[in-house]
Symmetry: C2
Subunit: 365 residues, 2 copies
């Protein structure tokens, strides 16, 4: 196939360890084979640990990260429902779009790209839109690198009878994410970011409260493929294991190995590693006079202003050609103005931090 | 991971060749990496050859086969549209469900499970429902093994100003499938059947006529993930290559290798192989007194009546335990009454045919 070996330091995918690639290339089993079911059940158990949740309905949607968003939104919301959606980057905007396609009336909260939402502002919105069924917010905004604190928000929402929906595509496996403790009702992520698994699955989790709400829907979920009323019989396996769709068997092997690696390292150690390497990268960049875009930066994604005079595309091309390092371009209003350097999972090593700093010095000369 | 090596002779997945597993485990590239884009473009070119089409919009949907159905239906149909859907098994029924979830008024045609639709019956339905926008039909009904002829149907529909939607999940790569010659406007398949690639992608193709209709929609496609108005900018790559979602990179490597293998063998030779091995299996089964369910059987899936006195689950368990052979159970009204023996792609070998016959003789004793 002639595939070059890249050092993936963009917004995802991150570099996939050989162990995961090997696991993925194990022989394909039937999706109802007893051994496959064991592996799938084990994936769900490990996912609960990584999400720090006891939610029975925790499983990988058979498609990439954005399918997780669609699965969560189309199951929880019905046409005519109202929702509050927080927009400070591409993925908050995406959630507005997905909500509207599901017939939801969206009350959109905006702060400038790169900023985060203060808890008071969210509390005010909850007061202002008492008929909202849910509030959707992005924990780790991949387009800006902003890290949204979530502590306390679940309680505010539950007191008002609302649900908390969280986009954790770029934080799961890199930042603490306490689904139960923080009162998150529905959450989705991707495999190709801090889990360092190839892209292709979207781990989701639904609280019992969220599942109950889906069970009293008046309308069918508009998507057959993402309908948890059927998927839960396949993944929860309570009683008869009902066939739904053909699961992406080898991707499940890969995710199993990726989660095993995460749990071997331990969540606390893993989060600490991401924090430490972020600080190392940040110190290096700032010593070169490079500034971060967000005040509250993720550890896993470092969104920086392109230094004055630097040629965006030329520098990224030189990084790729001379160092085989991929970093990310800016999105939306940050196109041509920002770079995004990922430190996710297997890509988050001291060697990579020091290399990307050295390579940037060279490419910016 | 401790994965047993199965001989996959059920309704899919089929056995995946080592070449494909190796290609799949190549290092993960970024989904915007120039080399990845080359591979993805090459996949689309090869898919056009296998579908025998010049359709520009031919690409793999980033999810398993049923997502292809959802992609086709939600893009072509709008709420309030009418459609004719032909039901002779699980997957026709599934299309009714997916259509209704998209707000479509469905005129359902039924023949008994295992039978096919005569062209005259379809022609009468086209006359009876002149406001229908499309007719949906299953080329290869995985639940019954029935093989639906499609020649002539496209012309009837186009004369009436309607579109032809085809489910080819179990035929692509095993049976002739002439998308352009047969006037198919939208078609979807899976990778894990006659292409012998792991499950995880759904190859689709849209005719220029179908694309035009999607371009004059009054409403947004209800699914963001499957919306071809955005996907076509990623896959067709006319002008600027727009980012949509993170593609399942390693699955695309696998599909690239799978399609390479199909084209190395040649479509004609491949279809002839499936036909020959079906005849060999059929002769062997019938000499054991076992009867086929459908009169018009697929080559790729052999749906047979369980011999009287045989214990369905016990025989399948013995095949799996003693021979590591997976065959499929019956679905719906055929549960406990039929078995489904797949002869798909890499699983369709003379050795496998003779082995499964010998194993059945043993397990039925």
């Amino acid at each position: 196939m002639n595939i070059p070996e890249r050092i993936l330091m963009g917004p995802g995918p991150s570099t996939v360890p050989a162990r995961i690639l090997r696991a993925m290339s194990s022989p394909t089993l039937g999706h109802l084979d007893p051994r496959y079911i064991e592996i799938m059940d084990s994936v769900c158990i490990k996912l609960r640990k990584v999400y720090e949740t006891e939610n029975a309905l925790t499983f990988p949607v058979s498609a990439t990260g954005m399918a997780g968003m669609e699965c969560v939104v189309t199951n929880l919301m019905e046409p005519g429902d109202e929702a509050i959606v927080c927009v400070n980057g591409v993925f908050g905007g995406r959630m507005v779009d997905v909500m509207e396609r599901a017939g939801v009336t969206v009350h959109r909260l905006d702060v400038p790209w790169g900023e985060i939402f203060p808890l008071e502002m969210l509390g005010e919105a909850i007061q202002r839109y008492p008929k909202a069924k849910a509030l959707g917010i992005v924990h780790a905004e991949t387009s800006t690198g902003a890290h949204q604190p979530l502590e306390g928000l679940g309680n505010l929402l539950h007191d008002a009878g609302m649900l908390l929906i969280v986009d954790a595509v770029t934080s799961l496996g890199g930042h603490p994410l306490k689904v139960d403790e923080w009162g998150i009702d529905a959450i989705y992520s991707g495999t190709q970011k801090c889990l360092s698994c190839p892209p292709g699955l979207s781990p989701v989790s639904f609280s019992p409260r969220a599942v109950e709400i889906t069970e009293s829907r008046k309308t069918k979920v508009q998507s057959w493929y993402f309908d948890i009323s059927m998927l839960k019989d396949y993944y929860k396996g309570s009683g008869k294991r009902a066939y739904h769709h053909t699961a992406p068997v080898n991707m499940i092997y890969a995710l199993h190995e990726a989660l095993t690696i995460v749990l071997e390292e331990g969540l606390e150690a893993r989060h600490a590693r991401h924090a430490r390497l972020h600080r190392r990268l940040r110190a290096g960049l700032e010593s070169m006079g490079i500034q971060y875009v967000p005040e509250h930066s993720l550890h896993t994604l470092n969104c920086i202003h392109i230094p004055e005079g630097a040629d965006d595309a030329a520098v990224r091309a030189k990084l790729l050609d001379d160092y085989s390092i991929e970093i990310g371009a800016g999105l939306g209003p940050f196109a041509g103005k920002a770079w995004r350097i990922g430190l996710m999972g297997h890509s988050a090593t001291q060697a990579n931090v020091d290399l990307v700093l050295a390579a940037l010095v060279d490419c910016l000369e």
